[in-house]
């Protein structure tokens, strides 16, 4: 019985291959976008874990200098000779000529078992490892990136090392990092001998820290991944609209069959079970396809994501994607859940349907005004949630709840709003055709509303994200111009060279501004502390958000500190609050400046103040103010007369280019997801129109019979789709703008710590509107073309068939 019944049920799909295709494709697309994003997230999470695992730092306690500065080798020896089983680490960024790598220097002899990268141990040449020039171990892609870079030891590609880092012997690394005799921190072996002297008497100034359970970078990038997840979810929701529509239609069209099956004695329970099994089967197939597609999407997007994370957060992601069970299983699960959700309503209706209910497909295509009202009420409720989230919500999650509720509310309110608009148009219409056109459009609304909601989501997301990115870009470029006033930046190779360079440059430039900094904990998080010279370059250009006119003078007098917006927001500071610096000094907060694109907190104090507190700081970097036209000549002179390597200099233009490039890649992924979401929405339109086209013949045939040509009807069909798209676009604009505001003023602040001014770009809307019209027109084109070419006999059959 079951088999016969199932065969009958499935025969529907054989007769309606297009419906089957739209169901499978819709679900597959939804799953693909979702699982693609999840794949990227999973890959990133794995990379962060690997970063935390680098050199066993996820397992081992560490001893870290309290002031965030480096300590001399002597501290390591003192600790060892006092019985402390520690191993030294030097860590720092090596950069030359635009290529950079995070260098870790290790001592393989004291490294606890298991912490040493396997590849280093297996290399078989320990003396080559630490005898100059030494060896650098790195991931194959990192080795490829660093190919030909001068100044690095011979590189050895090794699997299992995080990309973007280079592992070398500590002595070699100290030389690379120009930090001879210095150690960043020490790792503690798990087993310590009996009878050690107390830490504080052996090496005062060190803090004992627990193993890094999660890398800092995982926290930093959390918002970015939430962002991706939100987009993935949006796409999935859009996809579900398609699936819901396709399943609903298939159920409605089979009502006669359900009735017959039940009349022939199939129990309702069995029927519902069979249909549920059918849905799950289809979901499984679509899910597998979707996961495969998702893998493709993720693989295509991963390089951009990796570049973004590296540029924005300094987090390194492997460029290759692995099939991780957590996301492909998750993808299948979400396909099943999605299909289940989409089918639940239909199954429930079937469960409640009286045996002798009409076999006419009515409910699906002809939802009443009451249905719209119910949706409107739900939309109102969600709008309420959005308002509450906006007022009381906390952080990134609050921001996304606000966004989700807002978008969903807008989508749900759409059919009602469109019905009102079309009703008004109908009342205003004069001609009979116009009147019929509006009435018929309104009549079609229920069948199209899911697709239109999907389009609405995609359009508002597009407007919102587009506005955010464009606002960000505008702000960022202006800010870069302010922030990088100096024409040329130089780094000497040694302190001695730096001194000579200073003497040499002073008569040859307008001003020489030290760019000296240290790193250390401020308000519990690692921050950068810069010193600034007392020079009008800063007072003229520096982009301040808050602060008195005499800020720079106060810094010069060591009477204050300014912090970047991120730190200011994170620590909840007010002007005048004390800012404790690493090492113990405290300066009152006298100003706040914007600092886009920097995930870390930053403090600026006077240069003399900085030097007084950190006498050992690296003094080799300078910014040079000079006539921009003189820069090439100065560069030549620096190389030829002074003997500075070309790659020790970078000019303003190159820095800006680099920053903007990072910026552009940051939003490349968002843009790609945006386009994909639009694609899904367009597909939803298309399948909806296609299924409607088959059902609409009885509605169109009489009009044809009464004297309209097929071509005219087809034109009207296309016009109708474009009109609906245009109306949806019109409603999407305000929603998109609210979305943009939430992204800029709520999500960005919570995620990155900076707030951006909002700019509107109406020209972009025109472009997007044209795109929406095109999407509507294209989606309607094929069904309309078929209508124009339809055999009159097919139309005539409408009059003969009993429907």
């Amino acid at each position: 019985m079951r088999r016969t019944a199932l065969a009958a049920l499935l025969s529907h799909w054989r007769r309606h291959p297009l419906q089957l295709a739209s169901l499978l494709l819709g679900l597959a697309l939804a799953t693909a976008l979702w699982s693609g994003v999840q794949a990227i997230n999973a890959e990133a999470r794995a990379s962060y874990d690997r970063a935390a695992e680098v050199l066993g730092q996820d397992q081992l306690e560490s001893l870290v200098p309290r002031d965030g500065q480096r300590v001399p080798d002597r501290v390591f020896v003192d600790l060892r000779r006092a019985g402390w089983q520690v191993t030294p680490l030097i860590e720092g960024r090596w950069a030359r000529a635009g290529r950079a790598v995070q260098v870790y220097g290790i001592d393989p002899f004291t490294m606890p078992a298991g912490a040493l990268p396997e590849a280093v141990g297996e290399s078989g040449d320990i003396s080559g490892f630490f005898t100059p020039p030494g060896r650098g171990f790195a991931a194959p892609e990192t080795v490829a990136e660093l190919e030909g870079a001068e100044g690095l030891p011979p590189l050895i590609a090794a699997e299992g090392i995080m990309p973007g880092i280079l592992i070398a012997d500590i002595g070699i690394a100290q030389t690379l990092l120009r930090a001879e005799g210095q150690i960043s921190r020490l790792l503690l072996a798990p087993d310590q001998p009996l009878g050690r002297a107390p830490l504080e008497t052996v090496a005062p100034g060190l803090d004992r820290l627990a193993p890094q359970e999660t890398a800092d970078v995982a926290q930093l990038t959390g918002s970015f991944h939430l962002n991706l997840t939100a987009f993935g979810f949006l796409s999935f929701a859009v996809g579900l609209f398609i699936v819901h529509a396709a399943i609903g239609l298939a159920f409605e069209q089979r009502r006669a069959m359900f009735r017959t099956l039940r009349a022939l004695g199939l129990p309702l329970r069995t029927l519902v079970g069979l249909l549920a099994a059918e849905v799950m089967l289809l979901a499984l197939v679509a899910g597998i396809v979707g996961v495969a597609l998702g893998y493709g999407i993720a693989a295509a997007l991963l390089p951009d994501v990796a570049a973004t994370l590296r540029g924005l957060y300094g987090a390194t992601l492997s460029g290759s994607l692995s099939l991780r069970p957590e996301w492909w299983l998750g993808g299948l699960a979400i396909a099943l859940i999605g299909a289940g959700v989409a089918a639940a309503q239909s199954l429930w209706r079937l469960w409640r349907m009286p045996l002798l209910a009409s076999a006419q497909p009515r409910a699906w295509a002809r939802a009443s005004a009451r249905g719209f009202a119910a949706l409107g009420a739900l939309a109102g409720l969600l709008a309420g949630v959005a308002v509450i989230a906006g007022v009381y919500g906390q952080g990134v999650v609050g921001g996304f709840v606000l966004l989700g509720a807002l978008l969903l509310a807008a989508a749900l309110a759409l059919p009602g709003a469109l019905a009102l608009a079309l009703g008004a148009a109908e009342r205003l219409a004069r001609g009979v055709l116009a009147q019929w056109f509006w009435a018929d459009t309104r009549q079609q609304l229920p069948g199209l509303s899911l697709a239109l909601m999907a389009l609405m989501l995609a359009l508002s997301a597009n407007i919102g994200v587009g506005t955010m990115v464009a606002s960000f870009r505008l702000t960022f470029t202006e800010w870069l111009d302010q922030r990088l006033p100096s024409e040329l930046y130089v780094t000497a190779r040694t302190e001695e060279e730096a001194t000579r360079l200073r003497d040499w440059l002073t008569p040859r430039s307008d001003a020489l501004l030290p760019i000296w900094r240290v790193e250390g904990p401020v308000f519990g998080q690692s921050a950068e502390i810069y010193g600034v010279a007392d020079h009008r370059t800063y007072s003229d250009n520096w982009p301040m958000l808050l602060g008195e006119a005499d800020v720079w003078a106060r810094l010069a007098r060591a009477e204050g500190a300014i912090v970047n917006e991120q730190l200011w927001r994170r620590a909840g500071l007010r002007i005048g609050d004390p800012v404790p610096l690493p090492g113990g000094a405290i300066r009152p907060l006298v100003g706040v400046y914007s600092d886009y694109g920097n995930p870390r907190g930053q403090v600026i104090i006077g240069i003399a103040d900085l030097v007084a507190q950190f006498p050992d700081l690296d003094r080799r970097r300078y910014a040079i103010r000079t006539d921009p036209a003189a820069v090439p000549e100065l560069r030549r002179a620096l190389v030829q007369e002074f003997g500075l390597p070309e790659d020790s200099m970078i000019d303003q233009g190159a820095v800006k280019d680099l920053s903007l490039r990072i910026f552009e890649r940051t939003f490349a992924v968002t843009a790609a997801l945006n386009v994909l979401t639009m694609g899904v929405a367009g597909f939803a339109m298309f399948t909806s129109l296609l299924t409607l086209a088959a059902m609409r013949l009885p509605q169109l045939a009489p009009v044809w019979a009464l004297g309209l040509t097929r071509t005219a009807l087809a034109r009207l069909e296309v016009l109708r789709a474009m009109l609906l798209a245009a109306l949806t676009m019109a409603l999407a604009i305000p929603v998109g703008l609210i979305l943009a505001w939430v992204l800029l003023a709520v999500v960005n602040v919570a995620a990155f710590g900076w707030r951006l001014p909002m700019f509107v770009f109406p020209a972009d809307w025109l472009w997007l509107g044209a795109l929406a019209l095109a999407a509507g027109g294209l989606a309607a084109a094929w069904p309309a073309w078929r209508l124009a070419r339809i055999e009159p006999a097919t139309l005539v059959k409408v009059f003969a068939d009993e429907r």
Binding site: R366, V432, A705, L706, G707, T709, F799
Partner: protein
């Protein structure tokens, strides 16, 4: 002459075999004349009607409606003919579901440019639809829907009315009432009526009866 059919032939491909439905039909119909078209199921009655309405094209022979030969007419001409000269009443009513009764009644008339709200209002009253003007088709009974369909055709004042079992979906009493009304209104308008029916009882109420059998009229 309102409708002139000479040597009309029409066939279909059905499962690889050619089925000749009409094999030389001749028929003439004058204004004011009402003709019942009877025949077995599948004898080609609906086909003949559809050919007369320009919904389909003949294989051989000639159809003239109001003096215009349908054979050479293009889609647009045929559509114009349906708007202006021909009115169709279907067994399935085929109302436009998105429009209310008032709009459905006026629909054809307004398409043909012969919209006369007063006349339509009067017609609606005659049809007993006066109180239903704001309703939508799906809210009407079968008899009410068929009355709207007839009203839609009559409101457009076509010269030739083609009806395909207009009461076939109605019970006998309702069907009779609707037919009475239709004949009365056709007579008033002086239009010609070609009506397909398989009921001899109904056929007898028209001025003339032709029987379609073996692809020919008798």
């Amino acid at each position: 002459m309102l409708l002139s059919i000479n040597g009309l032939g029409k066939g279909y491909d059905s499962g690889g075999a050619r089925v000749e439905v009409l094999r030389g039909v001749d028929l003439a119909l004058d204004p004011g004349e009402t003709v019942a078209l009877t025949g077995e199921s599948g004898s080609g009655k609906s086909t003949l009607l559809h050919l007369c309405a320009g919904l389909d094209r003949a294989d051989t022979g000639r159809i003239e409606v109001a003096g215009r030969d349908l054979a050479g007419a293009d889609d647009a001409t045929l559509a114009a003919l349906r708007r202006q000269a021909v009115g169709l009443v279907f067994q399935q009513f085929n109302l436009i579901p998105s429009l209310d009764v008032g709009a459905n009644l006026a629909f054809h008339a307004r398409l043909s440019g012969r919209d006369d709200p007063a006349a339509i209002a009067a017609l609606a009253d005659r049809l007993g639809l006066g109180g239903l003007m704001r309703r939508y088709p799906e809210q009407l009974s079968g008899g009410q829907q068929q009355r709207v369909a007839i009203g839609r055709t009559l409101a457009a004042r076509p010269a030739l009315i083609l009806a395909d079992e207009p009461t076939g979906n109605l019970d006998e009493a309702t069907g009779d009432a609707v037919l009475d009304l239709m004949l009365e209104l056709v007579a008033e308008a002086g239009a010609g009526l070609l009506m397909v029916t398989h009921s001899p009882r109904l056929a007898a109420r028209l001025s003339r009866r032709v029987h379609l059998s073996g692809g020919r009229l008798a």
